[in-house]
């Protein structure tokens, strides 16, 4: 029973809800998705198939889903949070047994009408779960060790399941996204300080132990780290993708080679050019101006999420909106860092632009939730 339910009368009803939607955010989403369509058209060599057309259809479905979710009162979604989280955990376990192997990792579960990536679903249900948890929890108990341990477990269960697939990228996003919500919800700085210190010393230990009798990783794992730190050591092997991505990106220059003129992607030097590495094609064809504009659009989406959250007095709605914003941010920040050689290649798509059904749908549903929170936020009389 939250604050919200005592102000039901101030919440818009019926068609007026549509007017109260966060329209600038919706327009931003459509713009970014359109950039995606253009890029998918380009990497297919100037063709709607095989990528641009299905992507447009999925976006339309996603947009519809977003409106439906937005129309449903936010407290319904809060009540569903536990169930949704539970279902996604079950699906993750299901992937272990019924999943289809793609690209060497178990990620998909075939539902008949569509193939679902439970790890994508989990990104948003975890955010819902944590927001609902902190909405339920007495704010004075937020930093109590017991009440800190519970959300940590909530985060770790799907993280470990995802790691088993193995999907390092999603696991990192889950931890970072979940951690961010805990932080925003008010968990003491101390916990984060201690975790950061532990991580730091672990990394130091891993590197210090290299070459000694008690080294902590296998040799090949060290070599992967080497490749990340300096891709030129293995330009045709593991470093190939990142080297080629950087070449494509860098060769774009100020204004790029022009639409459909990117030689790197056109000649297949770029790996995964329609999914994880699509940003490099954009950067090659539209240059710094194009790439920076996309970054700006993403920045604006985050800005609108945050301002909507700050204006929302409902703890669940506010935390949920911020959680979605942070998750969205992590998506594109990790993806861009990855293709620009700032982070290891972990397999995170560029949100709304990369080709992919599950991620697109889940993101649109997530934005539907933020819209619901926005529409149904408590308003002063």
């Amino acid at each position: 029973m939250s604050y919200l339910e005592y102000h039901v009368k101030t919440v818009p009803t019926g068609l007026s809800k549509i007017l109260r939607l966060n329209w600038p955010l919706i327009l931003l989403l459509i713009t970014v998705a359109s950039v995606g369509f253009v890029m998918l058209y380009s990497v297919a060599g100037g063709s709607l198939t095989p990528w641009a057309e299905p992507q447009i259809e999925r976006f339309a479905v996603g947009l519809a889903a977003m409106f439906i979710v937005a129309m449903v009162p936010i407290w319904f979604w809060r009540n569903m949070a536990g169930l949704a989280f539970g279902v996604s955990i079950l699906l993750l376990i299901g992937v272990e047994f019924f999943g289809e192997t793609r690209m060497g990792a178990q990620r998909w579960i075939d539902l008949g009408f569509m193939r679902l990536q439970p790890s994508e679903l989990t990104k948003i249900t975890l955010v819902m779960m944590l927001a609902a948890y902190y909405d339920w929890l007495d704010i004075r108990k937020t930093s109590h060790p017991l009440w800190v341990a519970i959300p940590v477990v909530m985060i770790l269960i799907p993280t470990l399941l995802v790691l088993r697939q193995p999907d390092l990228g999603t696991a990192l996003l889950l931890v970072a996204g979940g951690g961010a919500i805990m932080f925003i919800a008010g968990v003491s700085w101390w916990y984060f300080g201690v975790v950061a210190a532990m991580l730091g010393s672990l990394i130091t230990a891993v590197f210090m132990s290299r070459g000694t009798d008690w080294q902590m990783l296998k040799d090949y794992q060290y070599r992967r780290i080497d490749t990340f730190l300096d891709p030129s050591t293995d330009p045709l092997g593991a470093g190939y993708h990142i080297t080629q991505a950087k070449i494509a990106l860098g060769s774009g220059g100020w204004t790029g080679r022009g639409f459909m003129q990117g030689t790197q992607s056109r000649l297949n030097f770029l790996p995964e050019k329609h999914t994880d590495f699509i940003f490099t094609t954009l950067a090659e064809e539209f240059g710094f101006i194009g790439a920076f504009s996309l970054l700006g659009l993403y920045g604006l989406i985050i800005l609108f999420c945050f301002s909507s959250a700050f204006a929302n007095k409902d703890r669940f709605g506010s935390l949920l909106t911020l959680g979605v914003g942070v998750t969205f941010f992590l998506f594109f920040a990790v993806n861009m860092s990855m293709v620009m050689g700032l982070a290891p290649v972990v397999g995170v798509p560029l949100p709304l632009v990369s080709y992919g059904g599950s991620a697109m749908l889940v993101l649109m549903v997530a934005f539907g939730l933020t819209q619901s929170a926005h529409v149904h936020r408590p308003r002063s009389r």
């Binding site: 925003i184 950087k246 000649l267 007095k313």
Partner: protein, 647 residues
């Protein structure tokens, strides 16, 4: 949970505060991403663009067409033909063994060749095309092309390869090309990128080797756009390169063919035919010979062993590489040295009892009973050794050497053949340098009859004879023109010897093959217009020991092949108006008059007539035998029309 307004306010404030911290972090990261974009796309853009171009654009070499080699009449002796070959790219093939197994079911692959190719495949990078087999028929190529889907990485291909239409005839003259080897790459200092092309053909011996650079031409290149897999997407530009220079040799194909055919009746021999007026080498024969086409694609180990282990040394070009004691063919030069030094006149005589005593050593004349009193003409006609022992003692070796060098003895002629020998023209200084010993009179005696230290090649003997005939210092010439530019004739000026002395020597040579007592009378030319002047030579390759002489082992037939005498004959014709000089050396053949002279006469007559000589040119009692010989000669119809379909 139900909250008080106070709690709600606190919660909202905290969320805003913490949210702003997270937002700040995000803004920082956005800034970092933007900064990184700027760094890569603006500051390092040129660098990356260059890398992208390198990625995209590949340079491929285009091998230029190798220069053609033709004979003096324009008949091709080395040309380029279409070479259908089958190439494999390991990367595209995947399972190489499986693909090759399938290929073997379709076409025959020589196991030895396959073995070599497999080694090559392992050595090269996976994306480098390696030739599996070449010189295939069009049917084989078509079979492979039709089955292409089942043969990943297998590419039927066409290139140019060297072909020697006359086969063995020109093996020693033109030499051959072969695939460039690691050995070649280490040996020759040549940074031409063409040499890096696998199996690129370079000249290994002969003219092909000596004129390698002009024949090879200059590499062309094409700039092609490739995709990440290395597949060619399109050609961006092309520089065709420069084809190799075409060479025209002085050799006459028909005469060369006849020479090789005539020599092939003997185990091991060499002959050189030269134009006495301009030095053109009309034929350079050496038998046995071999098929140079076998080397072009890489000869098999077994075939190569057969060539190297043959005791008659088919791979050696004996005409220029072989150094033989000239024997009595050297005597003209000693005669000339005697006349030039004024030590003898034409009618001065020496008495020949069959031997000459020097201290307690006895130097024998070839004729046991001796020649009696011998003058200059008779000394040449009957090849009296004692005359030359006496003469050498009077003239001395240094004078003989001085004269002989003017006739090309001891000189390495600059003709484009492999391992041209200088022979040896010894003198006092030479012996003291070579053996740290003083020259002895006995050495002069041996030298005077072309034995001892004196060594010369058939080429040198032909040049010597041409210079005796013409009185000039004519130089041999093998290449008539390069790309249509005539090679200059050299040495056509007089040697400066007294023309009367020269005439006396020529007269002696005429007597050899035209007078009844002459050593080569039986090999005379009957045609009065084409009379031949010559000189026989029989050079020992061993010393006949006193014991052997006592036993009576002096006949060649009693000796193993390796220890028999070399048979030599040099000649020029026509006597009145010299045009052609011929030298013939038959290794371990026996006597010069019986073995070498008939061969030389046949070659001389063919050269003079330009075709199979008429029987009228031969003495009437020999015509029946000559007819048989001409019929049995393995000549082929070399004067065939030039085929235009060969590029």
């Amino acid at each position: 949970m139900r909250r008080s307004p106070k709690d709600t306010e606190a919660s909202s404030r905290k969320i805003t505060r913490r949210g702003l911290v997270v937002g700040g972090l995000q803004a920082g990261m956005l800034g970092a991403l933007g900064w990184r974009m700027r760094q890569m796309q603006v500051e390092q853009a040129d660098e990356f663009r260059l890398l992208a171009e390198e990625n995209r654009i590949n340079m491929r070499l285009i091998a230029p067409a190798r220069g053609l080699i033709a004979d003096r009449n324009g008949i091709p002796v080395a040309e380029n033909t279409q070479n259908y070959r089958i190439v494999i790219v390991r990367e595209d093939a995947g399972d190489v063994d499986m693909v090759i197994d399938r290929l073997r079911q379709l076409i025959y692959l020589d196991p030895e060749e396959l073995e070599r190719s497999l080694r090559e495949i392992k050595r090269r990078s996976p994306f480098v095309p390696v030739t599996l087999t070449d010189q295939r028929s069009w049917e084989d190529i078509a079979t492979v092309a039709v089955n292409a889907p089942a043969l990943p990485g297998i590419i039927p291909d066409v290139g140019l390869t060297r072909y020697y239409p006359l086969g063995a005839d020109f093996a020693h003259v033109v030499g051959y090309v072969g695939p460039v080897s690691d050995y070649d790459l280490n040996r020759i200092e040549d940074d031409d990128p063409l040499l890096q092309i696998p199996k690129f053909q370079i000249g290994k011996t002969g003219v092909e080797n000596k004129f390698e650079r002009p024949l090879r031409g200059k590499a062309g290149s094409k700039r092609i756009e490739v995709n990440a897999a290395g597949r060619v997407m399109r050609e961006l530009g092309r520089d065709a390169g420069i084809a190799g220079s075409d060479l025209q040799l002085t050799v006459d194909t028909a005469l060369q063919n006849f020479t090789e055919a005539r020599l092939s009746l003997i185990n091991s021999a060499a002959a050189v035919v030269m134009d006495t007026r301009n030095g053109d080498l009309l034929a350079v024969g050496s038998t046995p010979t071999f098929d140079p086409n076998a080397f072009v694609r890489g000869i098999s180990v077994q075939d190569y062993a057969e060539l190297t282990e043959n005791k008659y040394r088919p791979l050696a070009n004996k005409a220029v590489q072989g150094a033989y004691p000239p024997g009595s063919t050297f005597k003209m030069l000693v005669t000339l040295a005697g006349l030039d030094s004024g030590e003898i006149g034409p009618e001065d005589t020496f008495y020949c009892p069959g031997y000459h005593e020097l201290g307690n050593r006895r130097f024998h004349c070839w004729k046991r009973g001796g020649h009696g009193y011998v003058n200059l003409e008779k000394s040449l006609q009957q090849s009296c050794d004692v005359y030359y022992y006496e003469l050498a003692q009077k003239v001395g070796i240094d004078k003989i050497a001085e004269v002989a060098r003017k006739f090309g003895m001891g000189e390495r002629f600059d003709i484009p053949m492999s391992a041209v020998t200088a022979g040896i023209m010894p003198d006092k200084a030479w012996k003291s340098e070579r053996y740290s010993q003083d020259w002895r009179v006995g050495d002069s005696l041996n030298a005077s009859i072309g034995q001892g230290y004196v060594l010369s090649s058939p080429l040198q003997l032909a040049v010597m004879t041409a210079r005796l005939a013409s009185g000039t210092g004519i130089m041999p010439r093998l290449v008539k023109s390069i790309d249509g530019v005539e090679t200059p004739i050299e040495g056509a000026e007089s040697l400066g010897f007294n023309e009367n002395h020269m005439r006396l020597v020529r007269k002696g040579m005429y007597a050899v093959s035209n007078t009844r007592r002459g050593t080569a009378y039986s090999s005379r030319i009957a045609d009065d217009q084409l009379r031949m002047a010559g000189k026989t030579g029989t050079s020992q390759v061993r010393n006949i020991t006193v014991a052997e002489r006592a036993r009576g082992v002096t006949s060649n037939a009693d000796l193993p092949w390796e220890r028999r005498d070399h048979a030599l004959f040099v000649a020029y014709a026509p006597y009145d108006n010299p045009a052609i000089s011929v030298s013939v050396v038959v290794e371990h053949g026996g006597g010069g008059s019986s073995v070498a002279a008939p061969v030389a006469r046949d070659i001389m007559l063919f050269a003079l007539h330009g075709k199979m000589p008429p029987l009228e040119s031969y003495p009437s009692n020999q015509r029946a035998g000559i007819r048989e010989l001409q019929r049995s000669l393995p000549v082929h119809d070399v004067v065939r029309p030039v085929r235009s379909d060969r590029a």
